[in-house]
Point group: C4
Chain length 311, copies 4
């Protein structure tokens, strides 16, 4: 009986410690998981989640498509009930269909000029329902628009690399840098860094290991300029005996979770990212990304975040 | 004088420790409480709570009913004021009532084609009020729609069973498994498990007992794949001396509370569930619910969550 | 030099310890503060706060008044521009004013039947602005309606009294009882109780003292039935030497702050209350407010919360 | 190799410890950062953030401008398609343009009187799109209006000065005072104070230092009246050896972060402020800002907050 037969996570990231050859990175740099999910499409599907997380381009395509499809549908219904039930429609058949469509547009948006207006029971009833549906549809659009805008995101800019820098007295440290990439204020930030590497156990099996890195400072009150997150590589550190080559050989992956409070939206926000071995620079240090100008004001140049020099 | 005469909860679940014969499970698997509440209907009633928690089918029935009832009401008012006060109404009495109804629809939705339009003081005033009421009603609908969509729910899929598995070196553990059942990311999860059973005290009285189970890992940073929650059955465990038969005999009930942070909605969400004795499998272990495919990507098959094999 | 000359709060309630004769209770039973605030009317004024916290009756009066006042204003403007600029207006002067008013209603609500419609530059421009203003006003109404509904309130029903009950082995305890008074679920509740009384110091000065009471259980995971909050009156308790008369004489006031997580709205909610000396019953215990019915379901009778019997 | 070469923050405020001559205060009294950000305009730009944080005057200018610009644009389009495609347009060219504009207003706001209504395919299609755009624009306005109103802000009034007061037995303390400046209730408040000054190290370099001040009371349950935040200047205090002149000479800056829970909006709110050396009064104490009136009610005069007398 072995413990390892039951797939318990061996770490606090909800990942597995089995090493499959050729496995790709688990977290993308933008924080999304590199995982395929099967057999749960409908359970997982949430129109609202889609509508507030998709790109703006997609959003407008969805909204406009719904608008056009519903109106063509109603135009078709009005045309089949009979164009003669809409006062003001003239001309030949094709023309009549388009006038039904315009009548539908005017009803759905509740513009209702009246140049076209319904006659008879059925057309009136359908028009009454369409106006109701139109208002509910725009209620939905209002909700999703607000949902999109008010969704807080910690827009944090990370350095492109982790550096291994000289630190303190003869020591070394893993460091990466970040700054706020939005106009809003971030306060009460905290960082949690997980370090993951592949180890060979006594039986020669590859096992992925995870350890939380101890940080020089894991909480700051405000993020006014930049924050350089520092893990000192001392004897307690899992990285202590790593040579520069080991980072690649042991397939190192560093997972970052930043939690902060966004002042504008008054909500707690998270930002995730990760670095792989190739993004670690050995023997370098970051340059300062800000300076004091002639007026005595501090200037932060966001494009300088993560610039480093070799030491 | 006995302490037990005052009904203090003996546990942190707000439940009672008195054992009434034939008592049903206290928490349903979907997390709702199996409790009847009396004499507080109106105090408790909240239209908004109902509107955002009811099923979609019920929601649309309510919204459409309100729409139709209000419009019939106004049609009735217009008809009684006199259909001659609406310009454009023609035909016999029955027809006139329906035209009042359509005029009402066009006013309530603010379509206002104008084919029908009000004349005279009273009809004009009523129509002005109806348009106001219509806009407020759709404001309400907008609010409830947004409330429904933006309400965060931790959609967590639990294994159907708790298993008692071999664990570590000759040991045993209670385990159940869960995964995220929505497209959004869950981070900073924590689990609290309450174990409840019926005990016989020295006087022969049945008493329900509650204890919080100690977990191998009660917090994880992210839920990327699955999380197997493990309680080792060691000497400190309340389950230590339970034989397989005891689970049924002692009417075991396991209460689960999962807390997480939903990344999409930026809010903390909770998920509750429970297992009863019949859902506990003795001597089994869970199968792994994911694998690495040929492209090096991890694939999670949600339908496999909770599959176990006997050991 | 004395410490007491600077008005520092001597406690964690932000109250003062000076005892003024005839002072009234500081917190009302509904949780509001019994304090008058001066010289900050405009700084403090927030229309939105008013609109979402006022009674429903007040809310509707405000909304309807704004609607009517704005429309009378615009009617007045249209009338002064000249009723002849609105097509469809007929009759004498008084009649013309009312038709301007109805035209305004139809514009503000964007019904726009068209039986009345604007002619000429100025009337058209004013109407265009009125329609804009109308839409913004209803946007505001939508926001405040949603704000009112979505504002989470911990609707907790407290017992009318605090009882001093026999407790444990020869001991005594202060107890009060509460239950959830809404259909939503409350989870992760915590209680903080401040006990306040007037003491005479060595110089014979009256000083109000505050102390946090130690509770048998100050956190519960879920509030399914009732929660009896218990402070054991042992040697560490500030109440230890109080005789039944002392409660009145020392002007005892008990402040309660309950924090919980509301499942429906996914937000943390607070409930405040207080008891004064006259609401403390010496030598009584609460009756159980629930029972198991014939179907094995537990029934909670909310109207029984706080019923006690003398011991 | 020196530690100081890598720009790590030496403190929990995310500021730098390098002292540049002529540097201005880092946090303004209103809580905003006195920092210029470069090269990230578009990354940082968020229309919603702007719309909910700008002044009301700016907000209304933006909304009205968008409304007018879009309508002039559509007027231009209708005019170029040909005014003869709008039924009801009469008069000369200039007049026709303005009637196109009014037709656009009536379409955008969905008033649609019908006195003007579209004829022909193109004008009808454009009008259908304009009505859609109008509804989406007002959906946006609804969202931003709600966003503006529901954004919780801790409206806290701080004393204009920090005083150094006699405290306890022969001691001294730094003190400042605050009160709630809104009608809503603030509960569960906590304060974090950072003290910053310029020090000369052994090599004669100026270095800015930061230290968190220990407070007599750093959390209160409710803010009913005023809260005087007190840091005792004892041997552990960084201020212990400061003479009154040192405050100016060492360029003292005090950073304040208040966190509270706003009862009305059920959200956690933050308030930031700062004091510079010139705002510190040596040898003074605050007057009490409240009193009990003849009816036994406590009266808080907000305009008295921060009044002090020399001692």
């Amino acid at each position: 009986m072995e413990k390892s037969k039951t797939p318990t996570p061996s770490n606090n990231l909800g990942f597995d410690n089995k090493v499959d050859s050729g496995k790709k990175r688990t977290i993308n740099p933008d924080g999304s998981f590199n995982i395929i999910r099967k057999n749960n499409f409908w359970q997982e599907f949430s129109l609202f989640r889609l509508a507030i997380t998709c790109k703006w381009r997609i959003y407008w395509i969805i909204v406009l498509s719904v608008y056009l499809i519903l109106n063509f549908l109603f135009a078709f219904i009005y045309y089949n009930i009979g164009a003669e039930n809409i006062s003001g429609i003239t001309g030949n058949n094709c023309n009549q269909f388009w006038q039904c469509f315009f009548f539908s547009l005017q009803t759905f948006t509740t513009v209702g000029y009246g140049g076209l207006h319904p006659l008879g029971m059925i057309t009136n009833a359908v028009a009454g329902f369409e106006a109701f549906l139109g208002l509910m549809t725009f209620a939905l659009a209002t909700g999703t628009l607000y949902g999109r805008f008010s969704r807080p995101e910690a827009k944090i800019k990370y350095s492109n690399n982790v550096v291994v820098s000289p630190y303190g007295n003869e020591g070394k440290a893993l460091m990466f840098m970040l700054c706020n990439n939005s106009k809003g204020n971030l306060v009460e930030l905290s960082a949690k860094i997980n370090f993951s590497w592949v180890d060979i156990d006594v039986h020669g099996n590859s096992l992925r290991k995870f350890e939380v890195l101890h940080l020089e400072l894991d909480k700051i009150s405000m993020l006014a300029l930049t924050w350089t997150i520092v893990h000192e590589i001392n004897e307690e550190s899992p990285v202590y005996k790593f040579t520069p080559e080991d980072y690649i050989k042991k397939d190192v992956e560093i997972f970052i979770l930043i939690t902060a409070y966004d002042d504008t939206f008054a909500q707690i926000v998270h930002s995730r990212s990760s670095y792989t071995a190739t993004e670690i620079i050995y023997g370098a240090k970051f340059k300062r990304a800000f300076y004091t100008n002639d007026d005595g004001l501090q200037v932060l140049d966001v494009s300088n975040i993560g610039e480093y020099e070799k030491v």
